[in-house]
Symmetry: C2
Subunit: 338 residues, 2 copies
DNA sequence: TAAATTGGAGTTATCGGTAACGCAAATCAT
DNA sequence: ATGATTTGCGTTACCGATAACTCCAATTTA
């Protein structure tokens, strides 16, 4: 491997001079600068970031940990985070925890040992607390995305889950739906809790009774096995006229299962959900959703993270950004009133 | 930051002994091992991967560079690559070039300076050649995904683009379509070239004439501005009865534009495309596609990469895997025969 | 013209680890 | 009992870069 010393030897200068040329610091004559640069090109020199980070104690690399790389919400978020990072001269590494605490733990390990400058993280849920405490302990700045974790204070970007859920239920109720079920993410995920809360509040406000058995909690991530979900649908009696899905993944899976039963949407059953479908909402925009500003989640979160890193000591109080969600009415809800 | 020396001091041993405990190498008594481990826990020690990599000359980190993080083909592929990497004890970092050569160059820089052990890369196209030559020059093993780059010999995983395109056209022709247009990726991308070739061959085999103006080449990635694409559609005269899209992104965009013109699919115009829609093919499975084995692309590519890394010297000849594509007939094609 | 300043570059120590070697004490073989 | 091994751990050097300091020569200033 070509090192700074190889360059130095060939250019008849000291290693320090080469370093100065690379970083454009200190005082060097244009002549030696040109000479060194020429030798660097000739020898195809590439600086060793690890050696540099070791002495500088910073990497200028940030880490983005998402929970589901196949979900358009997170991929769009990633684009936002990437744009903000690049704009500020940081490189961004991605990880995908797959809504799995162990995978998350694996990435935490990479994060700590790699000594990245900061982390943007969508935690798998409340059990992520120890992971966040680790980051705090090792003084690694981080910003949470989409999900709060009780027990830790930090910068965070959230969606207005409660209000969004209310809007979905209101929308259904306004069309005359009275039997509304909820398929939701795990109650160990704050956004799922808020969505449930919004659902329950909206039922009450619309004068509808709450039936516990109409609420099913599972993972926000895609299931390899749909039998449990299918069993819950079977157990619904009477069949609700509408289902609220806690996110787009659940909506897709539920729709698949309903169709297998020969049910048509919205003729036989209505469905609405959280999160839009990225580009695919374009081709068959038939599901009524509460769309979140995925790109903004990433962009603003990254901006907060970088602010935090660059201010460090005099950083000020923790910031919390709540992004509004927008109801997009399409054609997955049947009108039951006349 | 807690270092190996802090541990050594507190445990009354040398730094080397601590290193031995961490790596479980050399000879240490159970007693000292336990003592050191205890101190490490007490002090929340985390090894500094950069210092370690610097001396070991390897990172056990691999890099996956894809061209469109919002495309289900690539996200599914990513899952496959991740699984294979994890299984072999490697950590995986992701990058997203956005079909953009400059962004790709940026990631190349990260790759070289970070000294990752290997790279799995879907190149943006033929102009990526210098980037690959850089990797070769710096002796970083890499495996190409989905796209060949003339001028470089290496391990590669490809889809059978020509055959896939033939199947799509055959499918249309078998339903009586005679005016078939093609929206394709850039001709600087090998898979786009092969798809075009398959399209042209299939036209000929079906006795259909080739009209240059019915072929439009653009990027495989999502466009921020659809006017050019829309202008091409306007220019088509006569309007073809069917369109073949070079990938799912193009299909989605074209469908959107067609619908804006009030055209219904498949009643007014038929459409078929390369690549499935990931989970979203589930909810409205109306587009006939040639589905590629995205997960396998990632899994097998990663496996090849790791083989290459672990054998290094006696690696054998370059390997080329061609994954078959499967026609999935749905309802986006109108039957024109009686 | 002598003193002070400044420009240009080299020296040395260090970041946090690990490999290779060395060496005393403990264990083994004869 | 004594030489030969083995065990357990320390020393030293180095991975590739940079910060802080030093030093000489050229230039400016008084």
């Amino acid at each position: 491997m070509v090192t700074i010393y190889d360059i130095a030897a060939k250019a008849n200068v000291s290693a320090m001079t080469v370093s100065r040329v690379i970083n454009n610091t200190g005082r060097i004559s244009e002549k030696t600068k040109a000479k060194v640069k020429k030798v660097m090109e000739e020898m195809n020199y590439v600086p060793n970031q690890m050696a540099r980070s070791l002495v500088l104690q910073q990497t200028r690399i940030l880490f983005l940990l998402i929970t589901d790389i196949t979900n358009p919400f997170y991929t769009t978020l990633s684009r936002g985070a990437e744009d903000a990072a690049t704009k500020n001269g940081y490189r961004l590494l991605f990880g995908n925890s797959d809504e799995n605490l162990e995978k998350e733990a694996g990435y935490m390990n990479t994060i700590l040992t790699t000594r990245v400058d900061g982390v943007l993280i969508a935690p798998t849920g409340d059990p992520s607390l120890p992971h966040l405490e680790q980051l705090r302990l090792h003084n690694i700045p981080f910003v949470l995305l989409d999900r709060e974790v009780p027990g830790i204070e930090c910068d965070i970007v959230l969606g207005d889950s409660k209000e969004g859920a209310r809007q979905l239920v209101d929308q259904l109720a306004s069309q005359g739906h009275q039997h509304i079920a909820l398929v939701n993410g795990s109650s160990s995920v704050s956004s799922a809790r808020m969505r449930r809360l919004g659902y329950e509040e909206a039922l009450k406000l619309n004068g509808l009774p709450l039936h516990e058995e109409r609420v099913f909690e599972t993972s926000f991530g895609p299931r390899s096995d749909l039998t449990e979900l299918d069993a819950w649908i079977s157990s619904l009696d009477p069949m609700p006229s509408a289902i609220v899905a806690g996110n787009n993944v659940l909506a897709v899976e539920v729709i698949g299962l309903l169709r297998k039963r020969g049910l048509r949407i919205p003729d036989d059953i209505s469905i609405v959900c959280f999160d839009d479908f990225g580009p695919y909402s374009e081709i068959d925009p038939f599901i009524t959703v509460v769309a979140q500003q995925a790109y903004q989640f990433g962009y603003m979160g990254m901006q907060m993270l970088i602010d935090r890193i660059q201010n460090r000591e005099d950083a000020g109080p923790w910031k919390k950004i709540v992004l509004p969600a927008e109801l997009v009415v399409r054609s997955s809800v049947k009108r039951l009133l006349d």
